[in-house]
């Protein structure tokens, strides 16, 4: 059975053995052992094939057929600077952490510091990542592959009661000439009791490059902590981009995640949340825009094991000719999780008959006193709205652009930061301007 559902690529294991002694922290026995164990688990589990329900919409066939090299440190300074400038929000005056091809790039970074902030980079301090690497609670094939091959990453711990005045920007850059490189990066974020922070992460890469960017993040919020994680995915058009985010949210804490998927050929965003305290809130939202050969897959799982928690999911997709998407949103409300509020909304707009949107809401509710809602739609632009706009003088492209912008704006209209709101708008509008017929 396992054989049918999973794919294999023995080359990956061989590759690991070949590079094992040059991986970050190779000389630390504990790390080398954790890597080897992870690789063994990966090889045992195998690569999820298209018949594995959770991977139905993202084909990992490339993993079975292609060989990966671990990326090198890049030295193309001009290119790095150009990509950096496209991603960096200079009007947000805060710390910046830059990774290039999966390795920290100190020249453009200014690490977060100050009272109550512990920040570490994997390649400079592996030990700080021991908890997340040793914890195999979230073990999965790709997580293990990432664990075995991880090149770099960051760890951020915010002490109780500490409020970060400025958001932290994390920018992941991939330069040209990466040549099917694997970029496995990890992060761990621990938000202390009553702490408050925002992290803005941008993924950007050179056009025309085939690379696989894979990021695993583990986020823990202590009681009453507030953490906002914003992600802009602007990878090159041939890239494979995957993020796997695990969150644990304690009593009365608030976690929010907002993302924009614009780039890459294949993108997969996994958001897996569990509550470990009551009266906690999780808000996940995002927009994904896809066209020619692009595929975006949003996979969420929210476990309500405890009573009185709220979760809200809001996703909007726009697919033009040749674009494909999937939203798989699972909410599990355990029998004891009374007074749970769980909302989920996924709407998709198809701009072409040759576009595809899949919506798969899954609600498993075992408690009887809960409020749960879900709504999923796939539709086209409204011809009456289009005519109304055109009768007022907007040409077809402008009218469509305005309607599409309005459609996705629901995702970021409530953002409390105007700079971020404008960034979302600017990026979404840029995509529309490129794509819509004139």
């Amino acid at each position: 059975m396992v054989k049918i559902l999973h794919l294999e690529n023995p080359e990956i294991g061989k590759r690991f053995e070949a590079v094992r002694s040059s991986l970050t922290g190779w000389d630390q026995a504990w790390l080398d052992q954790l890597r080897a164990e992870a690789m063994t688990r990966f090889e045992t589990t195998g690569i999820p094939g298209p018949k594995v329900e959770e991977w139905k919409y993202t084909n990992l066939g490339f993993l079975a057929n292609e060989n990966f090299a671990i990326s090198n440190k890049a030295r193309q300074q001009t290119e790095i600077k150009t990509l950096f400038d496209r991603a960096h929000m200079e009007n947000i005056d805060g710390p910046v952490v830059v990774f290039v091809n999966g390795h920290i790039y100190p020249a453009l970074s200014s690490y977060p510091d100050g009272h109550g902030i512990s920040f570490a980079v994997f390649s400079e301090n592996c030990q700080a990542f021991h908890p997340s690497l040793a914890n195999i609670e979230y073990s999965s094939a790709l997580n293990d592959l990432n664990r075995a091959m991880v090149t770099d990453g960051y760890s951020l711990e915010i002490a109780p009661d500490v409020v970060l005045a400025k958001p932290i920007q994390v920018i992941h850059i991939v330069t040209s000439a990466t040549d099917m490189k694997l970029l496995p990066v990890r992060s761990q974020i621990i938000a202390g009791k009553k702490s408050k922070a925002r992290i803005i992460e941008t993924f950007i890469g050179a056009e025309g490059e085939r690379y696989w960017s894979h990021m695993v993040s583990e986020v823990t919020l202590a009681a009453k902590a507030e953490l906002s994680l914003v992600q802009f995915q602007l990878q090159g058009k041939q890239a494979i981009h995957m993020t796997e985010l695990h969150t644990k949210v304690a009593e009365k804490a608030n976690f929010s995640h907002i993302s924009l998927q614009l780039g890459s050929e294949i993108s997969r965003t996994e958001l897996l949340n569990s509550f470990n305290g009551e009266f906690a809130n999780v808000d996940l939202r995002g927009a994904y825009l896809g066209r020619i050969k692009q595929s975006h897959d949003i996979f969420t799982r929210i476990n309500h094991d405890l009573p009185n928690c709220n979760s809200n999911q809001l996703y909007r997709g726009v697919l033009d000719e040749g674009g494909k998407s999937a939203f798989q949103g699972k909410v599990v409300v355990a029998r004891d999780a009374q007074k749970t509020n769980a909302d989920q909304s996924n709407k998709n707009l198809l701009l072409s008959r040759k576009a595809e949107a899949n919506a798969k809401p899954e609600l498993l509710i075992y408690a009887d006193d809960v409020k749960c809602s879900h709504g999923a739609t796939v539709g086209e632009l409204d011809s009456n709205q289009l005519f109304y706009l055109r009768s007022r003088g907007l040409d077809e492209a402008a009218a469509k652009g305005l309607l599409v912008e309005a459609f996705v704006s629901e995702v970021f209209d409530d953002l409390d930061d105007e700079i971020l709101r404008d960034k979302f708008k600017e990026k979404a509008a840029g995509w529309l301007a490129q794509e819509l017929p004139s």
């Binding site: 409204d382 011809s383 009456n384 709205q385 005519f387 109304y388 706009l389 055109r390 009768s391 007022r392 003088g393 907007l394 040409d395 077809e396 402008a398 009218a399 305005l402 309607l403 912008e405 309005a406 459609f407 704006s409 629901e410």
Partner: protein
């Protein structure tokens, strides 16, 4: 200004307009009345170029230019405005943003520069005030949650801001209470000028008490069957279509 000759329009395979002739000169206000199903709304959509309204014969010429060759947005750029019978709701697009984009699109079509944001704000505030619209409504999404009267008032504000040469108003008066009707009528009257023209499509004579037309036409079964001055509307109000010898759409 507008010359319609022998216009035949088919909608969904059915011929609705069957050889309609109408000439509107600069400075004139025309009213078209007619029983249900006569083709009144079809006429307004055909003038504006809505998809699905197929012109099988005839011509529509605006200031000497062939209208039928133009997209709806090009016609708007040329100075046409359609007041909708049922204004469309557009969630997520603020009235203000919508109007600014519309105005600048038309200016761009005419080869003018965008209006400066400050000037636009002044203009729209002044027009909203003239038409007694709550400025808060300018920030709200286009027509979303507006009452019937508010939607029609919003059409008038749009018309005032866009300042068209030719306004085609499709039952702009329907569903209005008397106060709203007076405001709409005032909006129409403000547009009256020697170089502009207005075509009102209406069911009731009531609007014509406030906007006195130069010509009244009766449209029945896809053609204009009677033309007169405002006394024709009064006669119609008194006697009905049948009383004037006009049968319902055949």
């Amino acid at each position: 200004m507008l010359e319609i000759k022998n216009l035949h329009v088919t909608v969904g395979g059915k011929e609705i307009l069957k050889g309609l002739n109408l000439t509107i000169n600069d400075g004139e206000v025309h009213a078209i009345m007619g029983p249900n199903g006569a083709g009144k709304s079809t006429l307004s959509y055909a003038i504006c170029g809505k998809d699905g309204y197929e012109i099988t014969e005839g011509s529509v010429t605006y200031k000497g230019k062939d209208f039928l060759d133009m997209n709806p947005d090009e016609r708007a750029g040329e100075g046409l405005f359609l007041g909708f019978q049922y204004p469309v709701e557009i969630p997520g697009v603020s009235n203000m943003n919508f109007l600014r984009t519309a105005l600048n699109s038309q200016r761009c079509y005419r080869g003018d520069k965008d209006m400066a944001a400050v000037d636009f704000l002044k203009l729209i505030r002044a027009k909203a005030k003239e038409l007694d619209m709550d400025p808060e409504m300018l920030k709200r999404p286009v027509n979303v949650g507006f009452s019937g009267g508010e939607k029609k008032r919003n059409e008038m504000v749009q018309m005032a801001v866009l300042d068209p040469n030719l306004a085609v108003l499709d039952e702009t008066d329907s569903g209005l209470d008397i106060d709203a009707l007076k405001i709409v009528a005032e909006g129409i009257n403000r547009l009256r000028a020697s170089d502009k023209a207005i075509l009102m499509i209406t069911h009731y004579q009531r609007l014509l008490d406030y906007v006195v037309p130069d010509y009244v036409h009766i449209l029945a079964d896809g053609r204009i069957v009677k033309t007169g001055d405002k006394s024709l509307a009064l006669a119609l109000e008194e006697k009905g279509y049948v009383g004037l010898g006009i049968t319902e759409a055949a």
